[in-house]
Amino acid sequence: MIDKKEIERIAKLARLKLKEEEIEGFSKDLSSIVDYIDILNEVDVKGVEPLSYVHDIKNVMREDIRASQPQEVIDKLIEVAPDKEDGFVKVKTILN
């Protein structure tokens, strides 16, 4: 059972503000999903390696030179930010 307190803990980790009236619903939904995925406990995985990528992958290397985007793309990337100034994305104060 994922109770209300646990939901609040996860929401904070996820940086998500939940509405008070939603918390109970999320507790119910997540509990039922977790009950369902608990069937994985039936599987013995002793000695089995975890698999993150399906194909054999290796590091993709390139020359150590700056591959810069055209100015037009840079301008557009800045443009989509909600708050900006002089070609920079503006962030709220992080140190008081």
Binding site: I39, P50, Y53, V54, P82
Partner: protein, 467 residues
């Protein structure tokens, strides 16, 4: 000009024969979309200006007597989580309601080079999370076969646009079935390529170890034409690889088709089973050999999928924090701004999945959920490797049921998730799979799923083409 079910080759021939100009063709599609799409809501936005500009270039080439490529002048629809430069890309989310793409996705760049035309951006479940397109922040897409029913999801708009003849073909993305299941529900062809064969640069990431872009169309041949254009290595997506598969002529005599018994168990609509088995029989009649196989870990695929995809999503979607993109909801401090922006910007299903993913990655649960799922994923892959020792491809249903009614599964999260029971294991194993319309039950389409070995994409498309 009447726009009915058209294949790429048909349009290509008509353009070459000057039966109509490309501009007329595009204007006709736009007119039809403006007139009819209010019934279905396939499109979130149109890229009309770009389409007309592209069409003029094609017409100029034709009038000069130059040869045109097979995709030149072909009107396509693009799922709205794939970037087309200078046009809005919302991913079906309020958080990106006014986001304008700063660059082209690699698939778009390749399609532009081939002369294909983009009519507009199609509706989807928010950030591709869903099986019915009911999770879009902008409205529900309706199934053209029955407008009281869902088109499937998450590429519901892309499937419905092909089914309603509001484009010739489209692009979708498939993380756990999001191309194949809507193709099946709407009665069109849909293809999820081998993991890594198509670059995801410019596709909004949902679950990076599973996501693939693929086409939806009116024939298997069309799927292949689009696939050949968009696939191949791209240095902007380091998981992409070069395909070395030759397009060999298929010999159906003696082709070994595996039927996994775990896909025909309790939970499947008996009528769907009959239609799918009849379709498989057709291949047997053509000379293929049918072989019973077993994939014993099948029942664990869906729980693994919901752990891994949500875990990856919880990190991928952390970037929508109100700083770099889209909507910002101010708070008293930086943490509040993050929490408000994401809390108000994301819809309920997206928040639910971020919560589940954060939970499985959180301290104390990581080993029990995330790591355990990665280990059982190894078992799923081994199942397929063993099966493919004996057979050339596998055939299964795409979905245990036909399109359901709008609203039927919204309140029951688990029953909605079960829509993907036959499709997620293919993503977990990174295999190619195609959905082939193979019959109808009371007017509702049924899809046959053909699964291939990794990097045998063309082979299964050729098998699909025989149906």
């Amino acid at each position: 000009m009447e726009l009915k079910e058209l294949t790429i080759k048909q349009i290509h021939q008509s353009l070459k024969n000057k039966e109509y100009s490309c501009e007329d063709l595009v204007k006709e599609y736009i007119k039809k979309i403006k007139k009819e799409d209010s019934k279905y809501f396939c499109y979130l936005s149109l890229t009309e200006e770009l389409a007309l500009e592209q069409a003029k270039k094609v017409d100029e080439k034709i009038s000069k007597g130059e040869e045109i490529g097979i995709l030149e002048g072909i009107p396509l629809a693009i799922k709205d989580n794939i970037l087309i430069k200078d046009y809005k890309c919302t991913s079906g989310s309020k958080i990106l309601e006014n986001y304008v793409a700063p660059y082209d996705a690699t698939v778009i760049r390749r399609l532009k080079q081939s002369g294909a035309i983009f009519l507009g951006k199609t509706n989807l479940d928010e950030f591709a999370m869903g099986s019915s397109t009911e999770n879009s922040a902008f409205g529900i897409t309706k199934n053209p076969k029955d407008i009281e029913r869902v088109p499937g999801g998450s590429s519901g708009g892309s499937a419905a646009a092909v089914a309603a003849n509001l484009c010739c073909a489209s692009l979708g993305s498939d993380t756990g079935g999001s191309i194949r299941q809507p193709a099946s529900f709407c009665g069109v062809y849909g293809f999820k390529p081998t993991y890594g064969s198509v670059s995801r640069y410019g596709l909004m990431a949902f679950s990076s170890s599973l996501d693939q872009i693929g086409p939806l169309a009116n024939s298997a041949e069309d799927l292949k034409i689009i696939f050949e254009t968009i696939s191949g290595i791209d240095f902007l997506d380091s998981s992409s690889v070069n395909l070395e598969e030759k397009d060999e002529k298929l010999n159906i005599k003696g082709l070994k088709i595996g039927i996994p018994k775990e896909y025909f168990v309790e939970g499947i609509d008996p009528e769907v089973e009959i239609v799918v088995r009849t379709a498989i029989k057709k291949y047997e009649d053509m000379g293929a050999e049918i072989i019973k196989v077993s994939l014993p870990f099948t029942k664990y695929a869906l729980p693994i999928y919901y752990i891994l995809s949500t875990s990856e999503a919880s990190t991928n979607l952390a970037r929508f924090d109100g700083i770099r993109y889209g909507v910002r909801k101010e708070g008293e401090n930086l943490l509040d701004t993050y929490m408000n922006s994401k809390g108000e910007g994301f819809g309920k299903e997206v928040r639910r999945r971020i919560m589940l993913g954060t939970y499985s990655l959180s301290s104390g649960y990581y080993d029990a959920y995330y790591k355990k799922a990665l280990k059982v994923r190894t078992r799923i892959v081994e199942d397929f490797v063993k099966a493919f020792d004996k057979v050339d491809c596998l055939m299964t249903p795409v979905s245990p049921f036909t399109a359901f009614k709008i609203g039927d599964k919204v309140s029951d999260v688990l029953s909605m998730y079960l829509s993907d029971v036959y499709t997620t294991s293919i993503n977990l194993a990174g295999l190619p799979a195609v959905s082939v319309p193979c019959g109808e039950i009371k007017g509702l389409p049924v899809g046959l799923q053909i699964i291939g070995k990794a990097f045998e994409d063309k082979k299964i498309l050729n098998i699909a083409n025989l149906y």
